[in-house]
């Protein structure tokens, strides 16, 4: 058994693909039309290139309610690791990304939270330097 795929729900797959590639900087791996939706995954060039993130449509009302519940409580739907959180914060802000939390040390980890424009909050974290 491998952990090779995870997902975030998005309210609009075309918008999500644009944001996750052009703003977050991931690379499109799959984009297969399935009916009125698409099976879209992206990978990171910085991390493990074979770990895919699926941009899932929040088409089901239950998924939508879950996504919305997390958002309103300020709970991130996913967390991505960065090497230099201050640099990433500045880079994303310059691209118009809205943060609800600027980089903040929380014990040994530094955390920032931003909106992905697809109905989610995303946590960025810089782990302790080893």
């Amino acid at each position: 058994m491998k952990i090779k795929l995870t997902s975030v729900m998005v309210d609009d797959q075309a918008k999500a693909l644009k944001f996750y590639t052009e703003v977050f900087g991931f690379v499109k791996k799959r984009d297969i039309p399935v009916g009125i939706y698409r099976w879209i995954t992206v990978v990171s060039t910085e991390g493990h290139a074979d770990v895919e993130l699926a941009l899932e449509p929040n088409g089901n009302p239950v998924g939508k309610a879950f996504q919305d519940g997390l958002l309103k409580q300020g709970i991130p739907a996913a967390a991505f690791e960065v090497d230099d959180i201050d640099a990433e914060y500045r880079r994303l802000k310059s691209l118009g990304v809205v943060f609800t939390q600027a980089p903040t040390p929380q014990g040994p980890v530094t955390i920032a939270v931003c909106a992905d424009t697809c109905g989610n909050l995303i946590q960025l974290y810089q782990p302790p330097r080893s």
């Binding site: 795929l5 997902s7 309210d11 609009d12 918008k15 944001f19 799959r30 297969i32 039309p33 399935v34 009916g35 009125i36 939706y37 698409r38 099976w39 699926a54 899932e56 449509p57 088409g59 089901n60 009302p61 239950v62 998924g63 958002l71 309103k72 300020g74 802000k93 310059s94 118009g96 809205v98 943060f99 609800t100 939390q101 600027a102 909106a115 424009t117 697809c118 109905g119």
Partner: protein, 156 residues
């Protein structure tokens, strides 16, 4: 671009405004009213909402109406006219045009298509309203067919 992060209070007001825009049958509600309730000028509200949610308040409301219409049509038991009224449109023509542009087929065709997929009455067909990762098997089947050189047909 704002200099500082969105405060918890502003965030909560944006989320409340988004909920109001989802109240699809309230056709008299204006964006200016929603902005006022969020204690922002219309300009500031539209700018912040769009930066956060990726759509303007107007686009968001239209999509919420189309999404709700899709659900009602798929559940059956509602005529296209009923659904049009229920989601806040007063003209059937403009509803049908908008729906067709966003969904790829007019509401009447979508209703037939969706109802044919319902296996349990009152449950939405998962092909049209996919839940977690249900698209994957279909996607891989399509990939395989493409690799084999077969013409690809879509099942939804």
């Amino acid at each position: 671009m704002s200099a500082s992060p969105t405060s918890a209070d502003t965030f909560a007001r944006l989320c409340r405004a988004r909920d109001r825009l989802r109240e699809v049958h309230d056709r008299t509600l204006t964006i200016d009213e929603v902005a006022r309730d969020a204690s922002m000028s219309p300009f500031q509200f539209i700018r912040r909402f769009t930066a956060f949610f990726g759509d303007t308040p107007h686009q968001f409301r239209i999509q919420a109406r189309v999404d709700r219409a899709r659900e009602l049509l798929a559940l059956g038991g509602h005529s296209v006219t009923d659904v049009c009224m229920e989601v806040g449109f007063s003209s059937l023509g403009s509803f049908s045009d908008l729906f067709a542009r966003r969904v790829g087929m007019p509401p009447s065709a979508y209703r037939r298509h969706a109802c044919a997929m319902v296996t349990v009455p009152g449950m939405l067909p998962t092909t049209l309203f996919p839940g977690c990762l249900l698209l994957m098997p279909a996607a891989f089947a399509i990939l395989e067919k493409q690799a084999a050189g077969a013409p690809v047909t879509l099942d939804a």
